[in-house]
């Protein structure tokens, strides 16, 4: 393998790279055995990771008799998409999906604006009280009120049982502020300084200059916020009560895990649901609901994973 490298003086030097990979060095038997074992081990891991998801997908599309006989494993038997037709008509489910989408995407948009506005003074401001401002934000990373005080606060602010409670509660998290600030800090300060000399005010600098330069970190944090809101169960559980404001995860819990979590007994499940006057859902419908709830996140993550990975690294490097 040959590689050319341009040196500082402009000369091109030819480097000879020796490829030490499997093509050149004879592998020992032990190594061969290890390679095979490793590939098999990774395949087993793939099965372990994928099986639960495929199982849900398969059950949702199989026929009633096969599901009841526990024959369905990772592929559908007796293909029957009836469950999806059933949930397509369920307006309450769609309502909860809409609620989750409002919280996830609306919350994300507001969160990003708020986070950038919170991070900008920390990165570029030279103002009285900066130290205090920083401490006020950082302290919340160490210590928070907890479940019940949060509930009491939201009650007192009159936000209980509204989607605003979920959006506002997660608006600014100290951790995200730190991540964004450290990215802002990596932008040369001269950019801000020269814009200030040109007479731009700080809002113009932030929205016209800094935010366009910070797309990678904004994308990362945006995805964190969206996935966080979409998959959140605890906050809606505490802050939302009426059915019309239920988010998807609350709806899922009431549809799929209704009685199982308290008794995990199928006979009592049908008894309690019958008692409440709600028709017991078939196993296929439950699994179809799970599939629908997973689709948005699972279908986008392979395309956006690099932002997530860079985010994990940002968090680690920040120190």
């Amino acid at each position: 393998m040959k590689d050319t490298v341009q040196t500082t003086t402009g000369k091109r030097i030819i480097l000879r790279k020796v490829k030490y990979d499997q093509d050149y060095i004879k592998r020992s038997t032990g190594e061969k055995v290890f390679n095979v074992c490793n590939i098999i081990l990774m395949a087993l891991l793939l099965v372990f990771l994928l099986y639960p998801v495929l199982n849900v997908l398969a059950i949702s599309m199989s026929s009633e008799t096969e599901v009841m006989a526990a024959n369905v494993t990772f592929y559908p038997i007796g293909y029957n998409p009836q469950a999806y037709v059933t949930i397509f008509k369920d307006s309450e489910l769609w309502r909860s999906i809409l609620n989750s989408a409002i919280v996830a995407f609306g919350g994300c948009a507001l969160s990003l604006i708020a986070l950038c506005i919170a991070a900008y003074p920390l990165a570029y401001g030279q103002f009285y009280g900066k130290k205090l401002y920083s401490v006020i934000i950082m302290f919340t990373m160490w210590f928070q009120g907890g479940i019940v005080p949060l509930f009491l606060t939201i009650q007192n602010l009159g936000l209980y049982d509204s989607l605003w409670a979920l959006i506002l509660n997660g608006l600014i998290s100290a951790y995200n502020v730190v991540i964004i600030r450290s990215y802002f800090n990596s932008i040369p300060f001269s950019v801000v300084e020269s814009a200030r000399i040109d007479g731009a005010n700080d809002f113009t600098i932030l929205f016209r200059l800094i935010i366009p330069l910070s797309k990678p970190v904004i994308a990362t944090v945006a995805l964190w916020v969206i996935v966080g809101h979409w998959n959140d169960y605890m906050n809606p559980l505490i802050l939302i009560s009426s059915t019309k404001n239920h988010t998807l995860q609350l709806k899922l819990k009431s549809l799929v895990l209704a009685a199982e979590s308290s008794t995990s007994n199928l006979t009592t499940l049908s008894q309690t649901t019958a008692h409440k006057g709600v028709a017991a859902l078939s196993t296929q419908v439950k699994n179809a609901v799970l599939v629908v709830s997973m689709i948005p996140m699972i279908s986008i993550y392979p395309f956006i994973q690099r932002y997530f990975i860079s985010g994990v690294m940002l968090g680690a490097v920040k120190g």
Binding site: F48, V53, I137, V148, I172, K253, S293, F308
Partner: protein, 319 residues
Amino acid sequence: MSTVAKKTKDTVFNSSSMRKRVFNNIWLNRYIYMMVVPVLIYMVLFKYLPMYFLRASLYDFKLLKGFEGSKFVGLKWFERMLSSPELWRYIRNTLTLNSLSLLICFPMPMIFALLLNEVRNKPYKKIVQTVSYMPHFISTVVLVSMINNILSPSLGTLAKIYKLLGKTPINFLSNPDYFYGINIVSGVWQTVGWNAIIYISAISSIDQTLYEAARIDGANRWKQTLYVTIPGVLPTFVLLLIMQIGQMLNCVFDKIYLLQNTLNLQVSEMLPTYIYKVGIESQKYGLATAGGLFNSVLSVILVLIANSISKKVSEISLF
């Protein structure tokens, strides 16, 4: 910032020029203050007001009466908490689960990263890696539903396997002996890929010349892993280990709460779930707030200890 403070101290007698300077600074930073003030208002309302409501732990707090109408009870709730044998059982449950998870869940990502690093087939490696991130995007409610699917004594895959082997299926979910096991296995499923990201990047940042030198010294692949790769990821491992120990008293509310049922409560009840039940469901706000405060103070102390140790060990800290 500090130079500004010094200057103002020097000119403290020349009050008119000092006032001018302060005013100038504020005027120059007027847009910065326009950013700072709304953020501070938000922080006070949504992060510090909950801390104010920790005061409820000293009252027999009633939501509609507020602090004025509620009866002041002093440290009654704290006394009740600390004298209750239940409290220590909840803490013991949390510690048991977290110790098991530290032993089993925690090293898995590093092992996975090391093995993945040895996979020579690039596309296969990429597929394994991408699939391993998937569980990170699946919500706890869906995860628990999947667990119910697979472990269900009548419809689950595991029951099917038991039947094929000629054994009677076990109801894993209602048997307290299996609660920690279910938690750990699903914990591995959730975190093995995602938490490996940081190790994978640590491996990729190891200087390639070290491997070349090792090869020249006659090290085979196993020796290279043992003497180059593992020492390369060990600092990351130690740092994450210390941080993990700092999280010993925290537990994931969603998962514990959703996996709970009346039969496994003896081992599955932990402080956060107990606080939720007492505080939000039974509306004993005072007692629950006291419990929550106790829990957060304990965990903050633990985090601080872990943080100071990691500062000494690696000069990198969480905050």
